[in-house]
């Protein structure tokens, strides 16, 4: 097949920021109100696409965390755990509806604050976040049906720490099931992407939730540690790196705190010769370049069957050339800004490592804005299983390609990792799909598709990718004593 060499020149199509309402400075959201920290400082949340300051947010103190936990405890004891489940559900439905009503504002802020393409925040992050609240709202008064022969009970105060790659969506994944099951929440968003969580606090006010049911404190890692280590937290829910997850697991090992961890990944995306190659190439692109590769389940290890390797790589490079890197607010943008300078440094470090390890490096030529954090889509071929770029999570738009000949060989290679979050398989043969999907040691398997998420679909890892599930019926167990 001959790929067209013609390229489209697209006019800029930026999304307007006109109706976005942001304060210049934000405090924490504690006990139903925005309050200034006692003794904490402020730091800037910047737009990673142009380095401009969007708002000042709070570096919280232990005292702030303590205040938030107290508010959550009081709300749990006095109102939320005693409330009729049906009423709890109605409050959560309100959150879902308000998010849908204000979807555009949230999408634009998400893109400004985090750097992801507006197309993704508009079509994926915000609708899924609203959907998550809607899904779990309905569970609130049906919990006894989820656990046969059991009488599930809420746990108390949940301390939740979330990452910067899907800021509002991760907040929804954490808050919605916690509230539906009758728990109250202290949540810390990531320091680079706190704004949509703070806007969610506004929505929670609008939804008239009882004060203290949801509390949001901002800041860096120390604030998260203060939540995790607070003696009045009953449950810890964390999404982030495996390293930090291990620190948390260890920190609470002497306590009765319950814990769920959604950690890192290094997913295998496997292309067989009998796959529909063009679709598979789209799946590879979506698998690794979606959200700049800032995805724990990104298909960062590509395994191509030897017989189709040359064809797949040729088509992949061709497709990479057509990816538009640049202004995240532009509706045509495929790859937005890298979330932070720190992360860009990490990604560039791995690109250097890949080159030094002897893998073949490829990046399409593309112009990027002078300011901001950018990384073009990156491909390494001739990668060895032992290479660091094939073993360690990069969390950026960097794909490491290996080849295989037989089914058993690729199963061994794909499973040869301490991670086990996700995997992808591409083949048109049904029996091979079922063989592969049952042999992959990972919590989410995409067959002939990739990076699909849904409120009804449980998500979470095997092995060092963590434990517990978020989403679906199985996501309820994380917040209940069954």
């Amino acid at each position: 097949m001959n790929e067209s060499t013609a390229t489209w020149e697209l006019e800029p199509a930026p999304e307007s920021t006109a109706h976005v309402q942001l304060e210049k400075s934000y405090g924490n959201f504690i006990n139903g109100k925005f309050v200034e920290s006692a003794g904490g400082s402020k730091f800037s949340s910047t737009n990673p696409a142009n380095d401009k300051v969007i708002a000042e947010i709070t570096e919280s103190t232990e005292a702030d965390v303590d205040k938030a936990v107290k508010a959550a405890r009081a709300a749990y004891d006095k109102t939320w755990s005693k409330m009729e489940a049906k009423k709890r559900g109605k409050y959560i439905y309100r959150i879902a509806r308000l998010l849908q009503e204000r979807a555009r504002e949230f999408s634009v802020i998400e893109t400004m604050d985090g750097g992801k393409p507006i197309r993704e925040s508009r079509d994926v992050d915000i609708p899924l976040a609203a959907g998550h609240f809607f899904y779990y709202a309905g569970w609130a008064d049906k919990l006894s049906y989820a656990f046969p022969n059991r009488n599930p009970k809420s746990l108390g105060v949940a301390g939740q720490v979330i990452p910067w790659n899907f800021p509002l969506l991760m907040a929804a994944w954490k808050i919605a099931p916690a509230l539906a099951t009758g728990n109250t929440v202290v949540l810390k968003p990531a320091e680079t992407t706190s704004l949509t969580a703070l806007k969610l606090a506004e929505v929670i006010q609008q939804a008239e939730l009882p004060p203290g049911v949801v509390n949001i404190v901002t800041g860096h890692g120390e604030v998260g540690a203060a939540i995790v280590n607070h003696k009045n937290i009953d449950k810890v829910a964390f999404t982030g790196s495996t390293n930090v997850g291990k620190i948390i697991q260890k920190a609470i090992s002497g306590t009765k705190k319950r814990c769920t961890l959604e950690l890192g990944g290094k997913a295998a995306n496997i292309i067989f010769e009998d796959a529909t190659i063009d679709q598979a190439v789209e799946g590879i692109i979506n698998g690794i370049y979606f959200n700049q590769g800032h995805v724990c389940c990104a298909g960062s290890r590509l395994f191509v069957q030897e017989s189709v390797h040359d064809e797949v790589i040729r088509k992949l490079k061709h497709r990479m050339k057509s990816l538009i890197v640049g202004d995240p607010l532009d509706k045509n943008t495929d790859i937005g800004a890298i979330n932070s300078k720190e992360q860009l440094k990490t990604i560039n470090k791995y690109i250097e490592i890949g080159k030094q390890e002897g893998a073949d490096f490829y990046q399409p030529e593309c112009s990027v804005p002078s300011k901001g954090n950018w990384c073009p889509p990156t491909l390494f071929t001739n990668v060895a299983q032992s290479n660091r770029i094939a073993q360690e999570e990069i969390f950026g738009p960097v794909l490491a390609v290996q080849t295989f000949r037989t089914v058993s060989e690729v199963i061994k290679k794909a499973n040869n990792t301490p991670y086990g979050l996700s995997a992808g398989v591409w083949t048109d043969k049904g029996s091979k799909i079922f063989n592969m999907t049952s042999q992959m040691r990972a919590g989410v398997i995409w067959a002939n598709t990739y990076n699909k998420f849904d409120p009804a679909s449980p998500f979470g890892g095997y092995k060092e990718s963590g434990f517990g599930r978020e989403g679906g019926l199985h996501g309820l167990a994380a917040y209940l004593d069954v």
């Binding site: 495996t242 697991q249 398997i445 002939n448 849904d454 679909s457 449980p458 060092e464 679906g472």
Partner: protein, 301 residues
């Protein structure tokens, strides 16, 4: 070697059993060549293998090698094998009762322990081909995909068996763990190890593939660091109320994000048996596949 029961009967010299451990379907002695002599009822039980770190590691290798083919057995077949374990236990019930008495139980308590252990095995035999239907789901996603979640075994589970209920505590954890397709390495009751040793002889004659269950004897204080930091152990079932050791086990377990489950229930209570124990050692796998939308693209059948 087993203890001597007084003088030879009718002039016959009794043949005493050498107590061994159970690794990969075989009965080796501990590689360390060491022994200990617990005295749960005041009298020594004999020379019991004092297992070492190396025994733990050998057992994990055996358990890992056996796990995937055990998980690949049909659920029906696993159910039949668990049932077969119960049949073999029934045949040995007098021996189990006698050993429990030797280890300090009253005759009535020993009999109850054996009967409940056999029934527990039958209970989980029945669950083998049913728990999946209780805990799995077809998920109604809002896109054109078929999406379903099933349970898969966590992998290799290390079991620290109950100290005071040396047979029932063992059966109550081994049964759900292997019913779910895991393999396991068990550290028997330290002070009352005879029941576990006899159970290994039952397992060896019950069509349980070698390595699916491995049984060691020895000291928790010596071995807990080694099994909880072992990088090829996926989960730990800790049926022991030593809080200090539990914390240490949890801390060592962090190394490879092991799932640590602590049990302190009364196994004689039938409420303690339920399929949620099977789920404790399972992972949930969710699979997505697109559904072709022929009518949506304008064509149709």
């Amino acid at each position: 070697m087993a203890k001597t029961n007084g003088a030879a009967k009718n002039g016959r010299i009794e043949v005493h059993k050498t107590y061994k451990v159970f690794i990969g379907g075989k009965f080796p002695r501990t590689e360390s060549g060491r022994y200990y002599s617990p005295q749960p009822a005041g009298q020594s039980l004999g020379n019991i293998c004092l297992c070492s770190r190396k025994d733990v590691r050998n057992s994990v290798v055996a358990a890992r090698a056996a796990q995937s083919s055990w998980a690949a057995r049909t659920a029906y077949n696993r159910g039949q094998i668990l049932y077969r374990i119960a049949e073999m236990m029934e045949g040995r019930s007098e021996q189990f009762v006698a050993e429990l008495q030797t280890q300090g139980m009253t005759a009535a308590a020993a009999k109850k322990e054996v009967v409940q252990s056999i029934d527990r095995m039958i209970y989980y035999a029945g669950w083998c081909d049913k728990y999946q239907q209780i805990f799995s789901a077809v998920n109604p996603v809002a896109s054109s995909h078929f999406n379903f979640s099933v349970l898969e075994p966590t992998g290799v589970v290390f079991v620290v068996a109950n100290e005071e209920s040396p047979l029932l505590g063992l059966a109550s954890l081994i049964a759900p763990i292997i019913a779910g397709g895991n393999s396991c390495v068990v550290l028997a009751s330290e002070s009352k190890p005879l029941s576990a040793i006899t159970l290994s002889e039952v397992l060896a004659t019950s069509d349980v593939p070698g390595g699916v269950v491995n049984i060691l004897t020895g000291l928790k204080s010596e071995l807990h660091e080694h099994f909880s930091s072992h990088m090829d152990v996926n989960a730990i079932a800790f049926d022991c109320n030593d809080q200090k050791m539990l914390v240490a086990v949890r801390e060592f377990a962090v190394e490879n994000v092991k799932r640590v489950k602590h049990y302190s229930q009364d196994w004689t209570d039938d409420e303690s048996q339920n399929p949620y124990l099977i789920q404790d050692f399972c992972e949930i796998k969710t699979t997505w596949h697109p559904i072709e939308q022929i009518s949506a693209s304008g064509s149709g059948y």
